[in-house]
C-alpha cells in the first residue's frame, strides 16, 4: 500500500523533476565537465581554468562587487520589507491598497525602469535639475560615478520590496491570533509578544524569503546592463557582466569555471543558512 502511495507521489513529481533534470542539472553537469577542458572543449586542462579565473582581475572585481551588493541589499531588503509588513498588519482598511501599491514595481518592465533611470540619473536628468533648483552641487552623470552602486541598490529594493512584503505578510498571517490574546492576558507587552511569538513562528518562512531574495538579487543585472552596457561604472560591474563578455569572447573555459565556483558559493550559503535554521 505504502509502495503504491509512493508511486503516486513519484507520478506527480516526475514531470517537474524531468524539466529540472533536462534544463538545469544535465546542462550544469556539462558546465562542470567543461570547466576542466579548454575553451572549445577538446583538451583536458585540470584545474588550470580555475587558476586562471582566480587570477583574473576582472573576475575578482566582479565577484567583490557582487558580494558587496548582496551584503548591502539582502539585509536592507529583508529588514525594510519586514518592517513594512508589520506596519501593514496594523494598517486596517488601507492595507490592501498599500499592498497593491508595493507590488506595482514588479509589474514595470525592465526596459521602462531603465528609461526612468536614464531620465532621472543622467547628467542632464531630473535629479540634477532638482539639485540645481535647491542650490545643491549638481552636474554628475550619476551612472558614471560611484553613485551608480547606490542607484543599483535603490533599484533592487524598490523592485523587490513589495514581493517580500507579501511573503512576510503570509508568514505573519500564519501566527495564530489566540496565542497573542493568551500572551496579552498573561501580561506580555508588544515587544515580548513580537520576540517570543512572532519571531519563532515566522522563522521557517524567513528562510524561504532569504533564499528567494538572494536569487532575485542576481536579476538586477538586467537593469544594470540595459542602462550602462557591457562595461558599466566599476562599482556596478557584476559577475553577470563578466559572464556575458566572456561568452562574446567565447571564453567557455573561464565561464564554466566561474559558474561552478559561483554555484558552489551559493550552494554553500544556502546550506549554511539551512543548517543554522535547523539548529
Amino acid at each position: 500500500m505504502r509502495r503504491k502511495k509512493r508511486m503516486a507521489g513519484w507520478c506527480f513529481v516526475l514531470p517537474g523533476f524531468a524539466g529540472v533534470l533536462l534544463f538545469y542539472l544535465i546542462p550544469f553537469l556539462d558546465v562542470v565537465r567543461r570547466s576542466f577542458y579548454n575553451a572549445v572543449g577538446k583538451q583536458f586542462c585540470g584545474l588550470a581554468n580555475y587558476r586562471t579565473v582566480f587570477e583574473n582581475a576582472a573576475f575578482r572585481l566582479a565577484a567583490g562587487n557582487t558580494a558587496k551588493f548582496l551584503a548591502v541589499c539582502l539585509p536592507l531588503l529583508l529588514l525594510l520589507s519586514f518592517a513594512v509588513a508589520l506596519l501593514l498588519q496594523r494598517a486596517g482598511r488601507l492595507a490592501p491598497l498599500i499592498k497593491s501599491a508595493c507590488m506595482v514595481p514588479l509589474a514595470v518592465p525592465a526596459a521602462s525602469v531603465v528609461l526612468i533611470w536614464k531620465l532621472v540619473f543622467d547628467g542632464h536628468g531630473l535629479l540634477n535639475g532638482l539639485l540645481e533648483r535647491v542650490g545643491l552641487p549638481w552636474g554628475s552623470d550619476w551612472m558614471n560615478t560611484g553613485a551608480a552602486f547606490g542607484v543599483l541598490v535603490f533599484s533592487y529594493i524598490w523592485k523587490n520590496l513589495g514581493y517580500d512584503v507579501v511573503l512576510w505578510l503570509a508568514g505573519l498571517a500564519s501566527v495564530p491570533e489566540t496565542l497573542y490574546e493568551a500572551a496579552k492576558m498573561d501580561g506580555a507587552g508588544s515587544l515580548a509578544r513580537f520576540i517570543f511569538i512572532t519571531l519563532p513562528y515566522i522563522r521557517p518562512i524567513s528562510f524561504t524569503i532569504i533564499v528567494i531574495s538572494l536569487l532575485n538579487s542576481f536579476k538586477v543585472f538586467r537593469e544594470a546592463w540595459l542602462v550602462a552596457g557591457n562595461y558599466p561604472e566599476e562599482s556596478i560591474y557584476l559577475l553577470q557582466h563578466l559572464f556575458n563578455n566572456w561568452f562574446r569572447d567565447l571564453a567557455m573555459d573561464k565561464m564554466a569555471a566561474g559558474a561552478v565556483m559561483l554555484s558552489a558559493v551559493i550552494l554553500a550559503l544556502v546550506a549554511a543558512l539551512k543548517r543554522s535554521w535547523d539548529k
Binding site: A8, L22, N38, A58, G229
Partner: protein
C-alpha cells in the same frame, strides 16, 4: 469504504504513471528534434524543382527531398559590348529580342536558340545624349524607348522612339496628362511595358497607368485605381499588376477592368516591403506570363517564382541563394521561353547590366549535396558577388551565406555574436568566417581559425599578394585572418594641412590656425560628431596599444583632446550629414565636394576605391589642394577580414571560395576596397585607366548650397596619378584598430567629451577603467 479509497489510489497511480512518463519523455523527444538540421531540407522545401512542379504550381506541392532537377544559371553573352540593356522580350515565334545601347547607337539583337547565339537585327542612331526613362519589347519585336533624346529633339523631354522589327525608327512626343508634381520638367513617363496584344502602357509621375497610342503619342488612363499608391507595375500576358504596399491588385489590359484579388500575390508585397521600394530606373521585381493561361512568373531578390491562377501559394523555381539574383535586387525584365528556360535581365554586383539564363537540368540534385557555410556579421556586396561567382562555378555546392545583422530585424551586433558563438559551441562553426566586427583575437586564441599560410602562398604564387599587408597579419609564424581588401586614410586640403596631418595634434593645430585666419569659413567637411570620431579613429587608433596589447593611455588621451579641438572648429550638430555604408557597400568618407565649391578647407577620411581617388585628384586640379595620406602613410583599414574554420569538413571548398573572394573577378571592383591580390590590383588599375583616364567623358555634378551647380570631369586617372595610388598602397603597413569593443567604448565616451557633457579627465578616467576591464577579462 476504505477498500474503495485504496482501489481509487491504485487506479489513479496506474492512470497517472503513463501520463507522467509521457510528460517526462516528451521534452526529451522534442529536444531531439530541436537540433540544427543540415539545412538541405529547408531549401528543398522551398525549391520548386522544375517543369513538373511548374505544372503543379498552386497546389503547394513543392517537391524536393532527394529529388533531382534544378534550374542552373548561366550568363548570356551579347555579340557586342553594350553600355546599357534597355529591355528584353519574347516574340510570337519563340525567339528572344534584346534592345541595348552602345551610347550613340541602339542595337537590337535576336536569338532563336535560347540565347546561345545572337544576331544583330538592326542598329539605330540617335541615342547619344539621351536619358532613357523606360523601354519595352512588343511581341512582334517592336522596341519602344521613352525618354529625352537630344540628338532627336533637343526640346522634347517625353519622346517615344519606336524601333520597328525592320529597324525603322519613328519618334513621337508623348502627350501626358498634367501632373501635380512640383518638378519644373512637368509630367514624365517612368516605366514602359507591353501586353500580349502589343498594347503599350506606361506609368507617369502621377502614378497613373496610361495606355499609349503609339501613332499619336496620346496617353489615356488605362485603369481606374484609387487605392494605395503604386510604386511600379508589371504586365504578364493580358494582366496588369500594380505593386502597392497594400497588395498587388490586378487588371485586365484589354478593358482595364479589375480582376479578382490573389492572396498569394498580395502576400509578396505585404510581407517584404523591399519589393515595393523602387529606388532607380530598375525594378525590385519583374513579371511575365508563364506557359499556362493566366499563370505568372516573377523574379525578385528571393529568386524566381511561378504563380498559377487560383493558386494559394507561389512556387519557387530558382532560389536566389543558388544564383546571382539576390545580389543587388535590381531587375529590368524577365522572359519565360519555355518550361525549361527562363531569362532574367538585372544589374549585377559590379553595377553592370547582365542577362542570365536559368535552364532546367533534370539530372542534377534538386539541392546541391555539399554545403559551404559562410558567416558575416554585416551585409557586403563584395561578399555577395563572391558567393554568386563561386556558386556559378560550383553547382555541386550549396553556399549558405548567413548575415548576422541584416538590418531588418533589429538584431544588434552583440545579439548576432551571441548567436554565432552558441552555434560555434554547438560544433556548427561556419566554414568561412568574415571576421569584420567579430572578436578575431578570441577566435584565433581558441583555435577556431585555421592557419591560412598555405592558402595565401598559393594565391601569392598564382596572382601575387601585397606583401606589406600580409606582413601585418603574420602572428606566431602563422596567419589566421587576412583581409581581402583595405581602405586608405586620406587628408585633402592645402599642402600645409596635409603636411601638418603627420600627427593628429599637428592636424588640429593647423585647423585652429585656419579658424583664426578665416573666422567665418567652415574648416572641416560637414560631419556629425559620431562620424568625426569614427574617421579620426581610423586615422589614429593604430597608435593606441603597445605591441604586447597594453593600452597607451597618453595616446588615447591625446586622441580625445585633438578630436575635441577638431570638433570645436566647426561644431556640427548631431544631425549633420555623416557617411554611412550603403547596402553593404563601403563608402569613402573623404568627400571632396565641399573643397570644390569652397564650403570647407580640409577633408579627411577613407578612400575605398579608385573612384574615390578620381574625385580626390579632380579636386586637387580644380581647387589647387593636395591629396595625401594621413600620418606617416602606414595606416590602412582592413576590409573583408576572412578566416577559414579549423574544423571545416569541406576544406577544399572553403579554400576555393577564399580564392574566389580574393580573386580578380571579385576583388578590386568599385566599392570593394583596394585588393590585396596583385593581379586584381593590376586589373583595377587597367579598369581605372580605361574608364577614368584622360579620354573619359564621364562627369559628375552636384548642387551647391546657393543653388548653383558644380562638378568635375572624371578623367584624372592618368599614369602618374595611378602610380601615386600605387605608392600609397605600398606604404600601408599598420592596420587601424578594428576591435569593436574598443571602438564602441571610445565613441561612447568620446561623444560625451566632444559635446561637452564630460571633461577630458572624466572621459579618460571612464575609458581607462572600461578598457582596463575589457583587457583584464
Amino acid at each position: 469504504m476504505r477498500g474503495k479509497k485504496k482501489r481509487g489510489i491504485a487506479a489513479l497511480s496506474a492512470a497517472l504513471l503513463p501520463v507522467a512518463l509521457l510528460i517526462t519523455m516528451l521534452p526529451a523527444a522534442l529536444l531531439t528534434g530541436c537540433g540544427k538540421g543540415n539545412g538541405k531540407q529547408d531549401v528543398s522545401s522551398t525549391e520548386g524543382g522544375g517543369p513538373q512542379q511548374v505544372a503543379d504550381a498552386g497546389t503547394g506541392d513543392g517537391g524536393g527531398g532527394g529529388a533531382k532537377g534544378r534550374y542552373i544559371e548561366s550568363d548570356l553573352v551579347l555579340p557586342e559590348v553594350t553600355e546599357k540593356i534597355y529591355g528584353m522580350g519574347k516574340l510570337d515565334d519563340g525567339s528572344v529580342i534584346v534592345a541595348a545601347s552602345t551610347g550613340r547607337t541602339a542595337l537590337v539583337f535576336q536569338s532563336t536558340d535560347m540565347g546561345e547565339t545572337w544576331t544583330t537585327r538592326c542598329e539605330v542612331d540617335g541615342f547619344g545624349n539621351s536619358w532613357v526613362q523606360g523601354a519595352a519589347v512588343a511581341p512582334d519585336g517592336t522596341v519602344a524607348v521613352a525618354g529625352y533624346f537630344m540628338d532627336i529633339d533637343e526640346m522634347e523631354k517625353n519622346m517615344l522612339v519606336l524601333i520597328a522589327p525592320d529597324g525603322t525608327k519613328t519618334s513621337t512626343p508623348l502627350i501626358l496628362p498634367s501632373t501635380d508634381s512640383e518638378l519644373a520638367s512637368g509630367n514624365l513617363a517612368e516605366q514602359l511595358a507591353y501586353d500580349a496584344s502589343g498594347n503599350l502602357f506606361l506609368m507617369d509621375l502621377n502614378y497613373d497607368i496610361l495606355k499609349v497610342d503609339t501613332g499619336t503619342g496620346i496617353c489615356t488612363k488605362a485603369i481606374d485605381w484609387s487605392g494605395s499608391r503604386p510604386s511600379y507595375f508589371g504586365i504578364a500576358g493580358q494582366t496588369l499588376l500594380l505593386m502597392t504596399d497594400d497588395g498587388m491588385p490586378r487588371f485586365s489590359t484589354a478593358d482595364g477592368s479589375s480582376l479578382p484579388d490573389a492572396a498569394a500575390l498580395d502576400d509578396i508585397v505585404r510581407t517584404d516591403y523591399s519589393i515595393v521600394q523602387k529606388a532607380s530606373d530598375s525594378l525590385p521585381m519583374v513579371v511575365t506570363s508563364g506557359m499556362e493561361e493566366g499563370s505568372i512568373v516573377y523574379a525578385n531578390h528571393n529568386g524566381i517564382f511561378y504563380y498559377k491562377e487560383g493558386g494559394s501559394i507561389s512556387e519557387q523555381l530558382v532560389n536566389s541563394e543558388l544564383s546571382s539574383l539576390g545580389v543587388t535586387g535590381s531587375y529590368y525584365s524577365i522572359v519565360m521561353l519555355d518550361e525549361e528556360n527562363i531569362l532574367v535581365q538585372f544589374v549585377n554586383a559590379m553595377e553592370e547590366f547582365q542577362i542570365c539564363r536559368y535552364r532546367y537540368d533534370k539530372d542534377i540534385p534538386a539541392v546541391p549535396e555539399k554545403e559551404l557555410n559562410i558567416y558575416a556579421l554585416e551585409e557586403s556586396q563584395a561578399l555577395r558577388q563572391a558567393v554568386s561567382l563561386y556558386q556559378k562555378e560550383h553547382q555541386d555546392v550549396y553556399v549558405r551565406l548567413t548575415v548576422g545583422m541584416t538590418g531588418k530585424d533589429g538584431v544588434s551586433a552583440e545579439d548576432a555574436i551571441s548567436t554565432l558563438n552558441t552555434e560555434i559551441l554547438a560544433g556548427n562553426v561556419p566554414d568561412v568566417l568574415i571576421l569584420d566586427g567579430l572578436p578575431v583575437e578570441s577566435y584565433v586564441e581558441k583555435g577556431i581559425l585555421a592557419d591560412l599560410t598555405g592558402l595565401l602562398d598559393q594565391i601569392d604564387q598564382s596572382d601575387g599578394l601585397r606583401s606589406n599587408i600580409r606582413e601585418a597579419y603574420q602572428k606566431d609564424g602563422g596567419c589566421y585572418a587576412f583581409p581581402a581588401s583595405f581602405f586608405l586614410v586620406l587628408v585633402n586640403g592645402p599642402e600645409d594641412a596635409v603636411n601638418a596631418a603627420a600627427t593628429l595634434e599637428g592636424f588640429a593645430d593647423y585647423g585652429q590656425k585656419l579658424r583664426e585666419e578665416k573666422p567665418d569659413q567652415a574648416i572641416l567637411k560637414e560631419n556629425n560628431p559620431e562620424q568625426l570620431l569614427w574617421d579620426l579613429m581610423q586615422m589614429d587608433s593604430a597608435n593606441w596599444f603597445e605591441a604586447d596589447g597594453a593600452l597607451k593611455e597618453e595616446a588615447l588621451e591625446n586622441f580625445l583632446i585633438q578630436a575635441k579641438r577638431l570638433y570645436d572648429l566647426d561644431g556640427y550638430p548631431d544631425d549633420a550629414a555623416g557617411i554611412h555604408q550603403y547596402s553593404g557597400m563601403p563608402v569613402g568618407t573623404a568627400r571632396t565636394d565641399g573643397l570644390l565649391i569652397g564650403t570647407e578647407e580640409i577633408t579627411y577620411g577613407t578612400a575605398v576605391d579608385m573612384i574615390d581617388f578620381v574625385g580626390q585628384f579632380a579636386t586637387c586640379e580644380e581647387s589647387g589642394s593636395t591629396c595625401g595620406l594621413y600620418g606617416d602613410g602606414s595606416v590602412f583599414v582592413p576590409y573583408l577580414m576572412t578566416g577559414v574554420s579549423s574544423s571545416t569538413k569541406v576544406k577544399e571548398d572553403a579554400e576555393a571560395f577564399y580564392k574566389t573572394l580574393f580573386g580578380t573577378e571579385c576583388s578590386g571592383l568599385d566599392g570593394h576596397g583596394f585588393p590585396v591580390n596583385l593581379a586584381a590590383w593590376e586589373a583595377m588599375k587597367a579598369h581605372a585607366a580605361e574608364t577614368y583616364g584622360p579620354d573619359s567623358m564621364i562627369s559628375i555634378g552636384f548642387s551647391t548650397p546657393d543653388g548653383t551647380s558644380a562638378g568635375y570631369m572624371m578623367n584624372t586617372m592618368t599614369e602618374e596619378n595611378i602610380a601615386r595610388v600605387e605608392a600609397m598602397a605600398e606604404q600601408a603597413k599598420t592596420p587601424a584598430n578594428t576591435d569593436a569593443v574598443i571602438q564602441n567604448l571610445v565613441i561612447e565616451q568620446g561623444l560625451r567629451y566632444v559635446k561637452g557633457d564630460s571633461s577630458s579627465e572624466e572621459a579618460m578616467a571612464a575609458l581607462r577603467q572600461k578598457i582596463s576591464l575589457y583587457l583584464a577579462e
